[in-house]
């Protein structure tokens, strides 16, 4: 494990028109870290995640991933970097009327040729990998079900399976457990944390206890600014109270 940061954000400010979503954010994440982003809703957690995967561009400052400045790359290289960053969105963004296997296989699309992708839409390819990923998240029997027929928790697992198939170096997860009950939350966090030790995980959470239990570093966001950035063991209840103070 090298100590060079795998992702680094340098003095980034991001504005949507008049509204400033993130102010002067700097952080460095090294490979293998498990980082929790905590803060109340509207603090900028989702925005930060979309900044890290290259969906949003900073207004000021710069974002580097794997030593490359994300927003100065040519589209082709940009895509190559993005393939190494898998994102699980809060709204999942699955293609509802396709079967589960296609949504899981979507994780391959960064490597597949256009023709292979087309063929796979008609005759699903790489069934073994998809089955394995679904087994990892505990729903192998749903392989050929239509995605919109699954329950919310099952769809969440499909989204995770898609990222597992993509097999990126970094996983970004935006509120992956917000709509799940305690037992399911625990299972999902286990899946995310246990998949590979060298993999970096950045997860936004509203539940501080979960963050403490599964992550080794916590970043507290409040109104678009970093309030604290510390090892989980060093986070005190005062810091948490300050984070959620109105």
């Amino acid at each position: 494990m090298s100590s060079d940061p795998i992702i680094s954000v340098d003095r980034v400010t991001l504005q949507f028109g008049q509204f400033t979503a993130l102010t002067d954010i700097s952080l460095h994440i090294v490979a293998g870290e498990r980082v929790a982003l905590v803060g109340s809703s509207g603090a900028g957690k989702s925005t930060l995640i979309r900044l890290l995967n290259g969906t949003l561009e900073p207004t000021r400052g710069e974002v580097q991933a794997f030593g490359q400045k994300l927003h100065q790359l040519k589209p082709k290289h940009h895509r190559q970097i993005q393939r190494q960053i898998g994102t699980i969105y809060q709204q999942l963004h699955l293609v509802d009327n396709l079967r589960v296997i296609h949504n899981v296989n979507a994780g391959h699309l960064g490597h597949w040729s256009f023709l292979k992708a087309l063929i796979s839409l008609i005759v699903p390819l790489d069934v073994a990998t998809a089955t394995q990923a679904l087994a990892q998240v505990g729903i192998p029997e749903k392989l050929y079900d239509r995605t919109d027929r699954l329950s919310g928790g099952q769809q969440q697992r499909v989204a995770i399976a898609r990222v597992l198939v993509q097999n990126p170096m970094v996983i970004l997860a935006d509120e992956p457990i917000s709509s799940l009950d305690r037992e399911l939350s625990r299972e999902v966090m286990e899946i995310l944390c246990n998949c590979q030790s060298s993999r970096t995980l950045i997860v936004s959470l509203h539940d501080v206890d979960v963050a403490l239990r599964y992550c080794d570093r916590m970043i507290g966001l409040r109104r678009g600014r970093i309030l604290f950035d510390a090892p989980s063991t060093a986070v005190s209840s005062e810091m948490i109270a300050d984070l959620y103070r109105l």
């Binding site: 895509r79 190559q80 960064g110």
Partner: protein
């Protein structure tokens, strides 16, 4: 909205007043209140025509002709639909915003690319099938190719527009999610957007088929063969018994296609045309695999149709056609502007005709739609004692047959029938157009009523509200916005269709266009066509504005 909404003059009231004034002005323009419009000498002839409906000619020879003509019309429609959906699918992708913005990532080029493709497509769309038909007739002569191309080109452009709208309104996040995980945009497009939009695209294609079959009948009138042609021949030689045989064939053909298409669209969960562009979650009763089993059938049908009509495809690129096309282009330049003063009154006539036509269609459609909708009959909503009452059933059957008859018979044929009892002018044209569109609008309205959300009505009813008030407070408010939207869409169509009643002398720019086309006066034609395009775009713009302002309120 920028202005605070007034308490008394809502936008809908305001537009309603403007609409009424427009109708009154159009009636004035049509010569009502100013001159005699009714020709009483024509009534015996009209009676002969009506009386023939109960004894159509059922001789063996005529039935054989009818069958053959029906097959030709059906085959034109199938081939035309196939080509227009193919054109629409390809062009639709290229004129969708999502393609330029997300797939090509052409941020700056987007405005140029996307708007120029859209602008180019607006022209073939604005010109009616009939004008295309007459144009191709001048190049290719009488060949089935003329009918197929005349349907394929304008319908292809319309389909492209609707397809692009469907693609643009399909949720975009799954696409972006894939693109941002490093997937090549075009792969992501095929993997996310197309599967999501597929059902809507398919269901719109079925709707296009219904339109194609009506169009195929109209194209018969310019000599392309099929039922329209036979009908025109019988009408001109006053053989009403034969005429009604063809009418009934058209009725069966249209009814069959409409029922099949409606059933399929219902199964797909996209029951109505407007639902395509709304974000209502659709109920899907059919699995993807069952849809795919339709494809071999469709391909076989298309192949069979092409084989049956035998279009001479060699004509498309033949030296003779190229020479004729070259000639037309040469003789149409420079444009001849001498007749431009004449165009202004004709334009006014054209707009007046379209306004009257849509007024007739909307009011007639509204009256017939309620009895034609199954809802009251099946749910027993307005018949809560549940006693079996035969009266609504009879009413339903009659209303549906009237609607079917109205839309199955092409507008110019209606106009010719109306000409028995009215003096020539824009009024018979407007009535002809109005009757035809009445059938279409009435059916669309009935679909809207049948797709009404039932629970709010049941809730009203359960509170002891009398039926008449359930209608007033539940049914009417829920359906009226959609009715208005359909009516405005249809007004745009009526505007284009003034051309086809112009063919039988109903006046307006349409008459002038067809005259100039058949007398090869291309220099003047190009100016008239220009005026017609301007008028069409103007009506589209007004209709779009009204729809937006009604939606906002």
């Amino acid at each position: 909205m920028s202005r605070p909404a007034s308490r008394f003059i809502s936008p809908s009231l305001q537009w309603g007043m403007i609409g009424l004034i427009a109708i009154a002005l159009s009636l004035w323009q049509a010569g009502l209140f100013r001159q005699t419009v009714v020709n009483f000498n024509g009534f015996p002839l009209l009676w002969r025509f009506v009386a023939a409906s109960v004894h159509p000619d059922l001789s063996y020879d005529l039935l054989a002709t009818t069958l053959q003509a029906s097959l030709v019309t059906l085959a034109y429609a199938v081939c035309g639909t196939f080509l227009s959906v193919t054109i629409g699918a390809i062009a639709g992708v290229f004129c969708s915003e999502v393609w330029w913005l997300e797939v090509l990532r052409a941020k700056r080029l987007r405005y140029f690319g996307f708007h120029s493709v859209r602008a180019i497509l607006a022209f073939p769309r604005a010109i009616h099938e009939l004008i295309w038909g007459l144009f191709f007739l001048n190049i290719w002569g009488l060949d089935p190719l003329v009918a197929v191309a005349a349907i394929a080109i304008p319908f292809g452009a319309i389909t492209a527009k609707v397809f692009s709208e469907i693609l643009d309104e399909t949720p975009r996040q799954p696409l972006l999610a894939l693109i941002n995980s490093g997937v090549a945009p075009i792969t992501a497009f095929f993997y996310t957007l197309l599967p999501q939009a597929f059902l809507n695209l398919l269901s719109y294609s079925f709707y296009r088929f219904e339109c194609s079959i009506r169009s195929a009948a109209v194209l018969g009138i310019i000599g392309a063969g099929g039922l329209g042609y036979e009908i025109l021949l019988s009408l001109q030689s006053l053989r009403y018994e034969q005429l009604w045989t063809f009418f009934y064939a058209l009725l069966i053909l249209n009814g069959g296609v409409d029922i099949a298409s409606a059933t399929l669209r219902n199964q797909l969960g996209c029951a109505s045309r407007i639902d395509l562009n709304s974000h209502r979650p659709t109920k899907r009763n059919i699995s993807n695999s069952r849809i795919f089993s339709l494809f071999p059938i469709a391909i076989a049908g298309v192949a069979l149709s092409f084989w049956y009509i035998q279009p001479d495809l060699s004509k498309i690129g033949s030296p003779r056609s190229q020479q004729l096309l070259h000639q037309i282009v040469q003789t149409s330049l420079p444009p001849n502007f001498t007749g431009i003063a004449e165009l202004i009154p004709l334009s006014v006539e054209t707009v007046a005709m379209s306004v009257l036509a849509i007024a007739i269609a909307a009011s007639g459609g509204l009256l017939l739609a309620f009895p034609a909708a199954q809802i009251f009959l099946l749910s027993g909503l307005l018949n809560r004692r549940g006693n079996a009452n035969l009266f609504p059933l009879v009413l339903l059957v009659i209303a549906r047959i009237v609607l079917l008859l109205c839309r199955a018979i092409p507008a110019p044929i209606w106009a010719l029938v109306v000409l028995y009892v009215l003096f020539p002018g824009i009024l018979p044209g407007a009535i002809g157009l109005g009757l035809h569109n009445l059938g279409i609008l009435g059916r669309l309205f009935a679909e809207v009523i049948e797709n009404l959300e039932q629970p709010p009505l049941k809730a009203l009813s359960a509170g002891g509200t009398p039926n008449s008030l359930v209608f007033l407070y539940g049914v009417l408010p829920a359906t009226m916005p959609r009715f208005l939207a359909y009516t405005l869409y249809r007004w745009e169509v009526c505007m284009r269709e003034t051309v086809i009643v112009g063919l039988v002398g109903a006046g307006g720019l349409g008459r002038l266009l067809t005259e100039q086309l058949s007398s090869f006066d291309y220099q003047s034609l190009i100016v008239t066509l220009g005026a017609f395009l301007v008028l069409t775009f103007l009506v589209d713009w007004i209709s779009g504005r009204v729809r937006r302002s009604l939606r906002a309120s």
